[in-house]
């Protein structure tokens, strides 16, 4: 029986409930412990669902759950792009 919450990182509802029981009771903590929302979609799909589960399990309000930090890149990007040089550094 599998109910997936984070499709990118393969995190199930069971994983989240288990983590909450261990004390990871904020979104940022769940993210650091499980990699929730750290895959290629950057939490776009899983965070609203994780928020609902966290609320159900802990009775916390949305404000108490916190909101994980968003950092660039927001989308999948290739290494070659990040490794590109500044224009002035390019040898002709």
């Amino acid at each position: 029986m599998t109910t997936v919450v984070c499709r990118c990182e393969d995190i199930t509802e069971e994983d989240i409930v288990e983590a909450i029981e261990k004390g990871y009771d904020e979104l940022e903590k769940l993210k650091r412990h499980l990699r929730l929302g750290m895959g290629p979609c950057q939490g776009k799909t899983c965070l609203p669902l994780a928020r609902r589960i966290l609320g159900r399990e802990t009775g916390k309000s949305v404000e108490e759950m916190g909101d994980p930090t968003s950092r660039p890149p927001s989308q999948p990007v290739s290494f070659s792009l990040l490794a590109s040089l500044e224009e002035s550094e390019v040898d002709e």
Partner: protein, 525 residues
Amino acid sequence: MLTFFLIFHNLRKYFYRKPKLENTVLEMSERRIFEHPILDFDRGDEFYFDFEGEKVKAYEGETVASALYADGLRKFTESKKLERPRGFFCAIGKCSSCIMSVDGRPHVRTCVTQAEEGMEVKRHGSKPKFPEVDIGRGKERKEKKIEIAVIGGGPAGLMAAIVSARNGADVHLFDEGDDLGGQLVKQTHQFFGSHEEDAGTRGIEIGKELVEEARDVGVNIHTETKVLGYYEEKKITVEEEGRLTIYDTEGIVYAGGAIENYLSFENNDLPGVYGAGGVQTLMNEEGIVPGDKVLMVGSGNVGVIVSYQLLQAGVDVVEVIEALPEIGGYQVHASKIRRAGVPISTAHTIKKAIGEEKVEGAVVQKIDENWEPVEGTEREVECDVICLAVGLSPDTGFLRQADCEMEYIGELGGYVPLRTEDMMTTRRGIYVAGDAAGIEEATVAALEGKIAGAALFEDLREETEDTRKSKEEAKEGLVPVVLSMRRCADDWGLRPILLNHKKGDLRMSRISILPSSFTKGVNCG
């Protein structure tokens, strides 16, 4: 209220038919739609690309994911740890469920990648290899100074770009897709807004008109680009044509739209469980049917409209289920699908999806007034697609990177940025419009865009006759409702969060309305 709805006279004849509409012709061997009562799929040249050693047919303009789906592929990738089969989900490049290896490059989102002749596409499974080909170093990085960046080319972004560009600003509009128009390009239904010019026009037409207007007024349009992040001093990084460009902007309108909500139930990740927007993209934009029998989860406007669109495309909608005790969407839409013989079951939820490699059915169950499933009411529904129409959440990652203050507002679908009546966030020069500001619909998005574009222009340059009028006109069509009042970190004092409703919207009655003079007074208290 009903006077705002346009009766779909020209579609009436279809209401009384059984779900399979005669006008829709599917080619037997594939899933492409060749004749449709409303849409005309103008396919380009036919060509082939390689998928794991097999030739797959595609038409110019199709994405890799659509061509593969039309060919019958359902499993696009294998999940990373549990190694479960996955299909596409959102079809607009948000969820990353359709990633494959394209020409040796892993992790390519195939739903936003155009198919090309001779392309080599492979599934990379749960552990993709490092690129097998030399993908080079990337072109040199560039930095460009521009005046206004508009992020997102849906109705909100297009309107914002049009207004600021026609007043003389140097405007650059960035969008991920190859077509602009946002979600409008897949709306085959007519809009029934109180807004005179849009009423009675189908979403697809409004989208096209806006794109044309944007080009006419000189908006610099960047399609197939990815806005990667926000950096200090209003700089944004953008990937376009394989190059990283840093745009140094003076002002930004963020109109990045929304993300489809996901739902938890057993096997909810099986290929065949799709977001309603994903189904719309596939069906109305790409001309490909998602399956034969669809179970629709959610009876809000999206759920009932997409159900009707599925019927138009010749797909059987076996049932619509709704967790609430009543139908969420407008009655006119719900009645249409009921007349077509589709049962709508309220106070029902989905318990599980059945299937190993893809959806082969579903188990639905009644729920009581406390949202608890009622034992013994489980029943199986035969279907090959489970379509989730369970709401949207604003896509606000960019705004959070920009440190705009956010607040969770359930009525707006999640975290939304605090903003003024003019749609400016708590960061000077950063504006927001459309679903990213809170889930509403296309008319509201366009009006918000109009306000944001005009206000940003005034901010950077000066008030003109046109900006003043644009703001006035747009605000006339909206009823701002104060949902929250917060003291901001900047020195501007209290700031209300305004929910913009279209005039005449039913839901308005549920929220108390403060006089607009009140909201004006507190903007810069």
